[in-house]
Amino acid sequence: AQNEKTTYVVRMASHQMPKAFERHAHWYAASLKSVSPSADMLYTYNNVVHGFSTRLTDDEARSLQGQPGVISVWPELKYELH
């Protein structure tokens, strides 16, 4: 169960992007790789939030939450039609 991955939406503080990165997408990717070398991004978000979604284990999600510039790492929620 510890290795089971679930989807997380990761929100980043764009104004905290280190100068070493030219583009936000590169910074997001580096942040993700630092906790999960095998993880891929599902989406990057540019307009409604700054961040990305990905699949992580619980431990990886906790680790990512502690990375600089990471505002939140929320597990995906399911919505339903009304």
């Binding site: 764009s14 989406y43 978000y45 307009n47 409604v48 939030v49 399911k78 919505y79 039609l81 009304h82």
Partner: protein
């Protein structure tokens, strides 16, 4: 949709009031849902000019969907499935289209309700026949498919919103919801905040968890939250008993008639070995006991149309579907696969009483087609979710109600009107119910208002809709709640039922800017990170500034008192912006309780020019104690003799 345009006052006589041929065709309504059936006549583009120059979206190709399925009406169609597939595995293209194509019907229904083109001769098997149209017939439609057979996932919803904002939609319609969570956690609220920042009007469904209190979803104040009411149309199907008694029910059944004369009636609970046999769940009826009979099933747990399919599969000739306490007298019509009628709880109990007392109970159903002019209407739907607002009790939700019961609109060609796999019928239009159906009504009305007043902010559009909404019938009686049969309250209907013609000329509006919402977030004591997550930039609340939730310039009032007695005082400040001619507005106050003293300062507001702003303060003082969970209501109105700018007040004690 047929009938609701007339019910909302959007007939030929009012067409001239709305500038349909001009600016409304520049308005793009984005719909986040199950996609679109592009062949629906509701998306024909006859008479529409080139797509607006500001439009940046496009139509994405995929399973059974090419860019040629789009036109000058349907100008955008995208799909977002990565989150769904990451959780549930790759999409099986034989079961659902990996494209914007709608395999469910819901998205086609909502999109056509909001902004469908005019379609003559629409009906479902002859029911609700007429000329169908969306609320904003000349607005453009862009669909963002974020819901799939297995549900709607927040990562996909967020990307759909991200794309819609980038594409430059003007109105967003979202007939979906999740649980209740703080705004910074809720993807719909987060995405809607960014949309609001770009001047996009967002309407969302209030939810179908009524009539329980605290059952709302989508309560962020930058979202317009829409509950559901009935219209003046019904589909009567009378249940006639062997005793000679008749009971009113509804049905959309069209097919082989019942055998002539009275038929034996059996209670499903007596034709099953299952403990929940009364519910007509799959595989629970004993065919030997059901064959050749009419079966009474209780509503609940499984889909209403599935109960009919279960009765049919067991050899039953027809079904009487009886509401229970949770649905009360609300009659929701369905296109059943066998002759069936849905009756209210009281009728259901009376039929059961006959069934259990008569040694040879018999019944037949008399189908009467479509009836219009039903009064009273509207009434608040039992399923429509109710306040108080659990997240921010000082913001009254829902904001407004609109038609959401037995609504006919465009449908997917992939499945029948019941949505059941065994339903081989295909229809161009279907009749369904839910706050999903009321939400796009308001989205379309917002598009009309945006076309008429391009300079109005999303908050101004909502204010116009709310302050001109009606909460009583023409005889002065308060709108009824079908769940109780009693007058509804602002926790049920918000500001009341939408009246778009009145909203066109509201006189004054309660406007809101992004900064006002930021002050609101500070008043909620959100952390800098939580606010930055919403605003996408560095932000800190001013430690020296006094923030108050009650100062958010909302067009309604919710006041929450502690019930442990003593005098508590709450001040609410509001600012009105003149969007009409110069005039002097005088205050009128109504309250049904002596336990709260209300004072307003000043009591007269004079406006000499357009866009002039004037502020006032309302002081609510609780006098004495009230028991916990008490509620009471009032109303504040400003009038210049021509316009009435009304705001509901809801008091609650906890």
């Amino acid at each position: 949709t047929t009938r609701t345009p007339e019910f909302l006052g959007l007939g030929k006589s009012t067409d001239a009031l709305f500038p349909e041929t001009d600016s409304v065709s520049d308005v793009v309504v984005g719909v986040l849902d199950t996609g679109v059936w592009p062949e629906s006549h509701s998306f024909a583009d006859d008479g529409l000019g080139p797509v607006p120059a500001s439009w940046k979206g496009f139509c994405e190709e995929g399973t059974n969907f090419t860019s040629s399925h789009c036109n000058r009406k349907l100008i955008g169609a995208r799909f977002f499935s990565r989150g769904y597939e990451a959780t549930l595995g790759p999409i099986d293209a034989s079961r659902e289209s990996k494209s914007p194509r709608d395999d469910d019907g819901h998205g086609t229904h909502t999109a056509s309700t909001a902004a469908g083109s005019v379609v003559e001769g629409a009906s479902l098997f002859g029911f609700a026949a007429g000329t169908a149209r969306g609320m904003a017939t000349r607005a453009r439609v862009a669909v963002y498919k974020v819901c799939w057979l297995g549900g709607c996932f927040s990562s996909d919803i967020l990307k759909g919103l991200d794309q819609a904002v980038e594409d430059n939609v003007n109105v967003l319609s979202m007939s979906l919801g999740g649980g209740m969570s703080e705004y910074y956690r809720d993807s719909v609220a987060v995405g809607a905040f960014a949309a609001m920042q770009k001047g996009i009007f967002i309407s969302s469904s209030a939810g179908n968890a009524g009539p329980s209190d605290f059952s709302l979803s989508n309560v962020a104040p930058w979202i317009t939250t829409v509950g559901a009411g009935t219209l003046d149309r019904d589909f009567p199907a009378y249940v006639s008993l062997g005793s000679g008694q008749n009971y009113s029910g509804v049905s959309l059944y069209k097919g082989d008639a019942l055998p002539h004369g009275m038929l034996p009636l059996i209670y499903a609970g007596n034709a099953s070995n299952a403990t929940n046999g009364n519910l007509c769940m799959m595989g629970t009826l004993i065919p030997e006991k059901v064959a050749g009979k009419m079966v009474l099933c209780d509503r609940g747990l499984n889909a209403r149309v599935q109960k009919g399919a279960v009765v049919k599969a067991a050899g039953g000739l027809g079904m009487v579907l009886a509401n229970t306490a949770s649905n009360g007298e609300e009659l929701v019509a369905d296109a059943h696969l066998l002759p069936a009628s849905c009756v209210g709880e009281k009728s259901g109990n009376a039929i059961k009483k006959y069934l259990f007392s008569d040694t040879n109970p018999t019944v037949t159903i008399l189908f009467e087609g479509t009836k219009v002019g039903v009064q009273p209407s509207p009434v608040v739907a039992a399923f429509s979710s109710r306040g108080p607002n659990l997240i921010t009790p000082q913001i009254l939700k829902p904001d407004i109600i609109a038609p959401g019961v037995n609504i006919i609109a465009g449908w997917s060609g992939k499945l029948g009107p019941t949505g059941l796999a065994i339903d081989s019928r295909r229809v161009a239009f279907n009749i369904i119910s839910g706050t999903s159906m009321s939400c796009p009504h308001v989205s379309g009305l917002a598009a009309l208002l945006k076309g008429a007043h391009p300079e109005w902010s999303p908050a101004a559009i909502r204010s116009a809709l709310m302050t001109t909404a009606y909460s009583s019938y023409k005889d002065g009686q308060i709108l009824l709640d079908i769940a109780t049969g009693k007058p509804s309250t602002p926790f049920d209907h918000g500001a009341g039922h939408a009246d778009p013609v009145a909203a066109l000329d509201p006189g004054l509006v309660y406007d809101l800017t992004v900064d006002d919402y930021l002050d609101f977030l500070c008043a909620l004591n959100y952390t800098d990170d939580q606010i930055s997550g919403l605003t996408r930039k560095e932000f800190s609340c001013d430690a020296k500034k006094k923030y108050s939730v009650t100062d958010l310039n909302y067009p309604s009032f919710a006041v929450n008192f502690q019930s442990n007695g003593g005098s508590s005082v709450y001040n609410y400040s509001r600012t009105l912006t003149n969007v009409g001619p110069a005039g002097t507005y005088k205050l009128s106050l109504k309250s049904e309780t002596q336990s709260v003293k209300i004072s307003v300062e000043p009591e007269t507001l004079s406006f000499s020019h357009a866009n002039e702003k004037k502020s006032y303060t309302v002081t609510f003082t609780a006098v004495g104690s009230m028991s916990p969970d008490s509620k009471s209501f009032g109303r504040i109105e400003w009038s210049d003799g021509k316009h009435i700018v009304g705001s509901p007040i809801a008091f609650s004690w906890s």
